[in-house]
């Protein structure tokens, strides 16, 4: 069972990593402890600082917002907060509320410093978790004594929490290990694949979560799900008492043998019943008992040993039974080959392998694909190891509850320090948003750049932020982030952001943060905004240069073809006309007046063309003196072409300019560029051949005229 072993070793390493060295409480810390003094009066801060700065490192904040910012940045690095109540912008109660919302109050003791002595104020402060009060006027002796007392008290408490946590953790580890050992013995004896127990556990957990999502018929807490999944490993423990000859017999069992085999559920249950139980263990044993005894019952009442029917069978046993059957089907056994996932699902839902709760069958077929993926991941050894570590961590979280926040917070502190360091180093706008409390935190550099506060409470109502993001900007981004999922939390967009009064393009890269609940709840987001103004301008310039003819500003041939093909694809029912335009005797214009003049004529013609078509029509200079325009029309295309043709014949600096035009209609030749171009070119050829200065519509009789320079056009310009 190599994967299981590896999993446990990794758990052990992780546990060692997480375990705080004994006595690493506040007392033993080498560095000076930090005290945050929050008071709007500089003199009051100075008096307190003077009383304390020989023994502690003093941080100061002028008001509640600054205090929150300092706490956000330093976290549990701050050992104590001395907090005034009456302050501008955010008062002491506001700070306490945020400390409660973020759980900081459990980590960082607060002593309130105030001249306020009304009992309702005092009571409110105590309710918000304040440890002690210091009344003005300050007395050096009292201030020092209270600070020392509070710090000692918290240090001792932290140590105690650590010790209790450790014991719970170790106990939990021990019982999980016992369950693993037991179930592996059974497995070994059964000659089952090593993965059976793991699969049943994974399947059980999967089905429990899905059924909870689908119905509230079974009240299942996260702890229930964890317990049932872990002890599902014990379902066949009774097989220990079954003769190995029967257990591993290839081929069908006789009726007598089967009768012996069937006793394993009752035997297992009895084994568990005889174990003395107390405290938390009771629930584990009760669940294990249910599973052992009833995992061969059937929904229709025809199972064994008790013939329970429907929901008289505990949901734990119902689900383990289904998981057991599924894994038996998909595994190779001495008496049968392995079936595919799809085949197994088909057999189970088809009623070939027993009678199950219809709700469970519904879950199984609805989430069949997801289930296959989950189990496929189990096959890969390395992921098994990581997942085992994760489930160990989950179990730890569950049993020690709030206590684990100690350990987690220490890691978080480290991460916070790392984050703050890098945030300060990079010149980037980094941000973090939490829904509760509604708070936007900006990196110091970012805040300076945007001229915003580092901490913005209720950002939705913040005017300065509105100015930066533009009207509706905050809501747009918020909506898009909420629309992401925990599986795909990434979000990128490009927006204009007001930086020091100037609108600049930024790329916002963010990810949403979700709770561990089922279904997950949106909790906020973090990300950064990168200034791409320069990139964007450059890119737009490149795009423009790549798609446009530099002389006239009309589209070039490649982008023209792209544009019209797309238009025709978009509106396949519309009428379209493609016209090819050629300036008559342009070589003479150039030769007589010079290339500069020639270029001016080309530019002028482009202007005439643009002015005589609608803005939705598409014009192009394909090269030399060859132009195209492309129209979408409803009625009377001849009149339109006639009008445009006349606008393209003009006098430029007393030099008469005329053109020849060939027109092809989509309804005649079909909606493809190639067909339209070929036909328009043919018509242009005919127009040129018929004496220029005219337009021609393509018709099939022009076919074959191409090589005939004296071709007779039938429809000439009036």
């Amino acid at each position: 069972m190599p994967c299981g072993k590896r999993g446990r070793e990794t758990e052990k390493n992780r546990a060692a990593e997480l375990r705080p060295p004994v006595g690493a409480g506040a007392i033993d810390r080498m560095a000076k402890e930090k005290i945050l003094i929050v008071d709007d009066s500089e003199m009051n801060r100075a008096i307190l600082a003077d009383m304390l700065d020989d023994q502690y490192e003093i941080l100061e904040a002028e008001d509640g917002l600054q205090a929150v910012a300092a706490l956000q940045k330093q976290g549990a690095n701050i050992s104590l907060v001395l907090l005034d109540i009456v302050m501008p912008r955010m008062d002491g109660f506001g700070v306490l509320e945020i400390m409660n919302q973020n759980g900081w109050i459990d980590e960082i003791p607060v002593i309130t410093v105030s001249a306020e002595s009304s009992s309702t104020q005092v009571q409110r402060a105590y309710e918000l978790g304040v440890t002690d009060f210091i009344m003005r006027p300050f007395d050096v002796f009292i201030v020092r004594r209270r600070v020392v007392n509070t710090l000692l008290l918290y240090a001792k408490q932290k140590q105690l929490i650590g010790m209790v946590e450790q014991q719970i953790y170790e106990k939990e580890q021990r019982s999980n290990q016992m369950i693993d050992i037991l179930s592996h013995i059974v497995e070994f004896r059964n000659g089952e694949s090593g993965l059976h127990i793991l699969h049943v556990r994974r399947l059980t957990e999967f089905l429990l979560r899905k059924i909870r999502q689908r119905t509230d018929r079974y009240p299942l807490t996260d702890a229930d799900i964890s317990t049932i999944s872990v002890v599902s490993a014990l379902h066949d423990i009774g097989k220990i008492a079954i003769d190995e000859a029967i257990l591993n017999k290839p081929g069908r069992l006789t009726d007598e043998e089967f009768a012996v085999m069937k006793t394993h559920s009752l035997v297992g249950a009895e084994m568990l019943q005889s174990i003395p139980r107390w405290g938390d263990g009771e629930k584990v044993l009760k669940t294990a008992y249910e599973i052992c005894r009833w995992h061969h019952e059937r929904w229709d009442g025809r199972g064994y040993p008790d013939g329970l029917k429907g929901d008289d069978i505990p949901i734990s046993a119902q689900i383990v039974a289904l998981a057991d059957v599924y894994d038996a089907l998909t595994s190779k056994r001495v008496y049968k080959p392995a079936f595919s996932h799809e085949k197994a699902i088909e057999m189970i839902t088809g009623g070939e392998c027993g009678a199950f709760n219809p709700l469970l069958l519904e879950c199984l077929s609805t989430y069949s694909e997801e289930l296959r993926d989950v189990l496929a991941r189990d096959e890969s050894e390395s992921s098994t190891a990581t997942r085992d570590v994760r489930s160990a961590a989950d179990a730890l979280m569950q049993t020690s509850g709030a206590g684990v926040s100690q350990r987690t917070l220490r890691l978080l502190d480290y991460e916070r320090m790392k984050h703050n360091f890098f945030a300060a180093m990079t010149e980037e706008i980094q941000f973090e948003f939490t829904v509760s409390p509604p708070m936007l935190t900006l990196s110091p550099w970012g805040a300076k750049k945007l001229r915003l506060e580092e901490i913005i409470m209720s950002p939705k109502e913040n005017d300065a932020l509105q100015q930066v993001l533009g009207p509706g900007g905050w809501d747009d981004v918020g909506r898009a982030l909420r629309a992401t999922t925990p599986e795909h939390p990434e979000y990128t967009c490009e927006r204009q952001v007001r930086c020091a009064g100037e609108l600049r393009w930024h790329r916002i890269i963010a990810r949403s943060v979700w709770s561990q609940d089922d279904p997950p709840v949106f909790q906020g987001a973090l990300g950064k905004a990168i200034d791409i103004e320069a990139d964007k301008a450059e890119r737009e310039d490149l795009v423009r240069r790549a798609t446009r003819d530099p002389l006239t500003g009309l589209l070039n041939r490649v982008s023209f073809i792209e544009r019209i093909s797309h238009r025709m694809w978009e509106y396949p029912e519309s009428h379209f006309a493609l016209a090819e335009v050629d300036i008559d005797d342009f070589k003479e214009v150039n030769d007589t007046n010079g290339h500069m003049f020639g270029d001016e004529v080309l530019h002028e013609l482009a202007m005439h063309m643009k002015n005589s078509v609608r803005s939705s029509d598409i014009c192009c200079r394909a090269g030399g003196e060859e132009f195209f325009f492309f129209l979408q029309y409803n009625t009377d295309i001849e009149r339109t072409i006639d009008r445009i043709f006349h606008s393209l014949c003009f006098q430029y600096k007393d030099w008469p300019i005329t053109v020849s035009v060939g027109v092809a209609l989509g309804e005649d030749v079909g909606l493809s560029y190639e067909a339209l171009y070929r036909a328009a070119d043919q018509a242009l050829y005919v127009a040129k051949g018929s004496g220029k200065n005219q337009y021609r519509f393509y018709d099939p009789s022009m076919e074959g005229v191409a090589t005939d320079t004296n071709g007779q056009g039938e429809r000439s310009a009036p």
């Binding site: 709007d40 009066s41 500089e42 003199m43 009051n44 100075a46 008096i47 003077d50 009456v86 302050m87 501008p88 001249a115 003005r136 006027p137 300050f138 007395d139 050096v140 002796f141």
Partner: protein, 118 residues
């Protein structure tokens, strides 16, 4: 003028402050700092502008400093004004402000006289 005489002149309790702060150096440091604090100016301005909330906070700050420094006279009048401004202006606040102004002027005069002789 000694620090003790200065306290007598501004109507403060020198024994009390020395008892709490335990060092003449500290008391002197903060007495001299008192005039740098902007709360008095803020009180007068926000009172004139009818911004009672800010006036309350300013009066409250002055009261807190007076308590810490044992400036009994100004402490009492700023305490009364604080209460008259808590949760909005109550009748009589104008008279109390005049009293605070008078006490502040006396306190400031005493501190300046003491400072001048240092």
């Amino acid at each position: 003028m000694t620090l003790k005489e200065c306290y007598t002149a501004l109507g403060g309790d020198y024994e009390d402050v020395l008892g709490r702060l335990r060092s003449e150096r500290l008391v002197q440091k903060f007495v001299l700092k008192f005039l740098d604090d902007g709360s008095y100016g803020l009180l007068c301005d926000s009172f004139a502008a009818g911004n009672w909330e800010e006036a309350f906070r300013a009066a409250h700050t002055i009261k807190g400093m007076c308590q810490n420094l044992s400036f009994t006279g100004l402490g009492a009048s700023s305490h009364a004004l604080t209460e008259a401004l808590r949760g909005g202006k109550k009748p009589g606040a104008e008279e109390l402000l005049e009293q605070v102004k008078a006490d502040y002027a006396a306190t400031a005069e005493a501190i300046r006289a003491y400072q001048a002789e240092l």
